[in-house]
């Protein structure tokens, strides 16, 4: 074949490909004016709402299933499927009155039987739910009458109402069938229209929903793991909403929204031994870091400096009196000199890729510590090895970076895990701190419980058990037509969304 003929064939092939593709790109959600498309990071592996601890599954199921308690967009706990806030009946039992006339989308009634079945199912060790740790104190549930149910706990559990904001209610009979994982049936505002595996999930409004009909008439979920591809899709008009928008991409997105979220990157310091055993060294490690600079340079200003605690203001246990350690490199240097730690080595353990700007944060902090006069060895591991270091007890790494989040918006989980001795991520043996947190866990007097957590927060701040850093904002990219205010708990509730046309 002569060269020119060969080139001609190639050109024709290319044109054909372009012609085929011409219809493929562009705005697919423009047709039905109140239908939207959301790009999430991965496909849910099951739509059974009680099995996995998976943000992608929640992104879909938060619209199909509901919980006894709910939170408003600002994070305040309020009744959901329950008719009112629960009352305590004795130390180990809470009573819930249920909302009447609610049905699951498969016709089964939502009543006390459904609550009992839902509770028993998710706490059953044979069921092996990944969510079990959220419900570790719950021992069972009993029906009192059709619309009244009690939930029993092991010991007093002030956290129970928050736990019921996390436990999704499933139909009594249908939840034991195999099809339940593929074809969900909930009480929520939306129901499943189509799940084509590998491709997309489509939801449509639930005609039997007990609440107000949502404005969005159809929502399609696409699964796009690569952040660059999600951004490209947003720019190309294929998606109306993407999560985890990078701070540097905010300008390019057609529209964006951001809100102070639940993520608190921080560094756990070893108070049990090594260079960080001396409280002056730990304080120096706090004074040495310019947290505002981190917020401005790494996160484009979309982060707030933490007030010497890893709680957001909306979380129960937040201490409004605490102030962050100032950026005072001179003080840091003098503290290190006092402690005789100048020139010594400190190891900073971390991983890359799990949290926004994690590698950059670790590097920046290491640089600040180095400026203060220490030799910093940064150990960057793959996630699995990093977890080994995070959880290894009792010998702790000098310092380890982690991003702490709190789905139940209550200090108990984070403080039990990182502050109190015995927690899997704790690096101190402070007996007073442990006492405060252990007692608060079962303290049903809300006032004194709050005080205990606030005291614990102050203690950990004064003793500098951590290098407190920032509270990130959750950043979302949106299309021009989407109207939506993000929520503190980062749930993607489509019922709160609308388009310009709807």
């Amino acid at each position: 074949m002569r060269a020119p003929r060969f080139v001609a064939v190639f050109a024709i092939l290319a044109l054909l490909a372009a012609a085929c593709g011409g219809g493929g790109g562009g705005n697919q959600s423009g047709a039905a004016s109140s239908a939207i498309t959301i790009a999430i990071g991965a496909e849910p592996t099951t739509l059974d709402p009680q099995v996995r601890d998976d943000g992608n599954e929640r992104a879909v199921n938060d619209n199909i299933y509901e919980t006894l308690m709910a939170r408003d967009p600002a994070g305040e706990l309020q009744p959901g499927l329950a008719a009112a806030a629960p009352t305590r009946k004795g130390d180990e039992s809470w009573e819930f009155k249920l909302r009447p006339d609610v049905k699951f989308s498969n016709g089964e009634a939502f009543n006390a039987d459904a609550v009992v079945a839902s509770v028993k199912r998710v706490i059953d060790p044979k069921f092996n739910s990944e969510q079990a740790s959220f419900f570790s104190t719950i021992t069972g549930a009993t029906k009192v009458d059709d619309l009244t149910v009690t939930i029993e706990t092991k010991g007093p559990d002030p956290l129970l109402p928050s736990r019921m904001y996390w436990m999704k209610m499933v139909p009594t009979k249908y939840s034991s069938e195999a099809a339940f994982a593929d074809k969900p049936a909930g009480t929520g505002p939306y129901q499943l229209k189509e799940w084509s595996r590998g491709n997309q999930i489509v939801l449509e409004p639930n005609p039997n929903y007990w609440g107000t009909k949502p404005p969005i008439s159809q929502v399609t979920y696409k699964f796009v793991p690569e952040g660059g591809a999600r951004m490209s899709g947003l720019l190309a008009g294929e998606y109306d909403l993407i999560t985890n928008l990078l701070p540097e991409d905010v300008e390019r997105a057609p529209k964006s929204a951001h809100l102070q979220g639940l993520e608190h990157p921080m560094i756990i310091l070893n108070a049990r031994g090594g260079i960080t055993q001396d409280v002056r060294v730990r304080q120096a490690l706090n004074y040495a870091v310019d947290k505002q600079a981190l917020a401005t340079q790494l996160f484009g200003g979309l982060a707030k400096v933490d007030t010497c605690q890893i709680l957001s203001p909306q979380m129960f246990g937040y201490n409004p009196q605490l102030q962050p350690y100032a950026y005072d490199p001179a003080k840091a240097k003098s503290l290190l000199q006092e402690a005789g730690a100048v020139g010594k080595q400190i190891e900073l353990v971390g991983q890359t890729g799990r949290w926004l700007k994690d590698a950059e944060t670790i590097q920046a902090v290491a640089n600040f510590w180095q400026e203060a006069g220490l030799k910093v060895k940064v150990s960057n591991y793959d996630f699995d090895t990093y977890l080994k270091h995070l959880f290894q007890q009792p010998n702790r790494p000098d310092s380890i970076h982690v991003s702490s989040s709190n789905e139940l918006l209550d200090a108990d989980r984070q403080y039990s895990n990182y502050y109190a001795e015995g927690g899997s991520g704790t690096s101190n043996s402070d007996p007073e701190l442990k006492r405060l947190i252990t007692e608060a866990r079962t303290n049903i007097d809300e006032g004194s419980r709050l005080q205990q957590y606030q005291e614990a927060g102050k203690l950990a701040c004064d003793k500098a058990y951590f290098t407190f850093l920032l509270n990130n904002e959750d950043i979302y990219g949106m299309s021009e037509r989407l109207n939506w205010q993000p929520r503190v708990d980062a749930k993607l509730l489509v019922s709160g969304m609308s388009t310009a046309q709807s």
Binding site: M1, A3, F6, F10, A17, A18, C20, G21, G22, G23, G24, G25, G26, A42, T45, T46, D48, V51, D53, P125, K126, N128, E130, Q131, A132, S133, F134, S136, R197, G198, N199, Q200, K222, F223, V224, P225, E226, G228, A229, S232, G233, L235, A236, G237, E238, F383, D384, L387, L390, F391, Q393, S404, S405, N406, R413, Q414, S416, N417, G423, S424
Partner: protein, 306 residues
Amino acid sequence: MGRFVVRRIAQGLLVVIGVTIMVFIFTRMVGDPAKTMLPLSASPEERAAFRHELGLDRPITEQFADYIGDLASGDFGTSLWQRRPAIDAVLHALPNTFQLVLLAIAIAVLLGVPLGVLAALRPGGALDRTAVVLSLAGLSIPQFWLGLLLIIAFSVTLNMLPTAGMGTPAHLVLPTLTLAFPALGRIAMIVRSSMIDELNQQYVKTAKAKGMPRARVVGFHALRNASIPALTLTGWELIRALAGYSVVVETVFAWPGVGFLADQALNNQDLILLQAIVFVVAVMVVVINVVIDVLYRAVDPRIKLV
């Protein structure tokens, strides 16, 4: 021929078994699903309970015996992450990868071979130099970068093609091009250098002297002799695309194939699914190798299959 194929398949089986055993050992040594699948705030007791329910705290010899027993009866276990039979997940994803890989290698061959031949006809000429540059580009450009670049160019800027996912023929274009480009480069280069060797041979001069049309000399005689290395390379490209590059390309384009599945399984430390994926891919690789070996004979009858 028949005995040859049988013997090759038996050897292949040994390879598959060996690979599966290695994966079993490595994943048990390195991975712990209880750490990655439970929330960070779960307590050590909760992780131990989770591990216990999955049977991962039993002695390794017991787990291995169970595994081999199950494998013999065709049971690949239940995926820890997907909570459904692991083999279902793999077999569901496999056709999607095949679609991508076969199309990509087909394009690489259909374009690469003529390119290599034309380049060889006039070494040092304009077409030859273009071909060399293109091939070097194919070899050097990282595929995830190329993929993202194509998305920016064709999806975002020109709005001609979708950015990611599967569904219409349009979705196939960019991932196929990304997968095909390096293979195209390599195939063109191998064909070019083999053809240059062949065209310098004595028999070519003789054929031309006899008055044979040039197209037949080049296209039939020379190309046939030059195609053994090209065939080897094509087989290798096919295997590499299936068992390697598919992971990167499928992840960039959110293409629901085996590579994408493997990436997710790794992230979730899903040992069972990983074992199933490796087993199936190993079988594919063995089959491809056997087919290539048989094709050698078709191209060059002098080759004796041992």
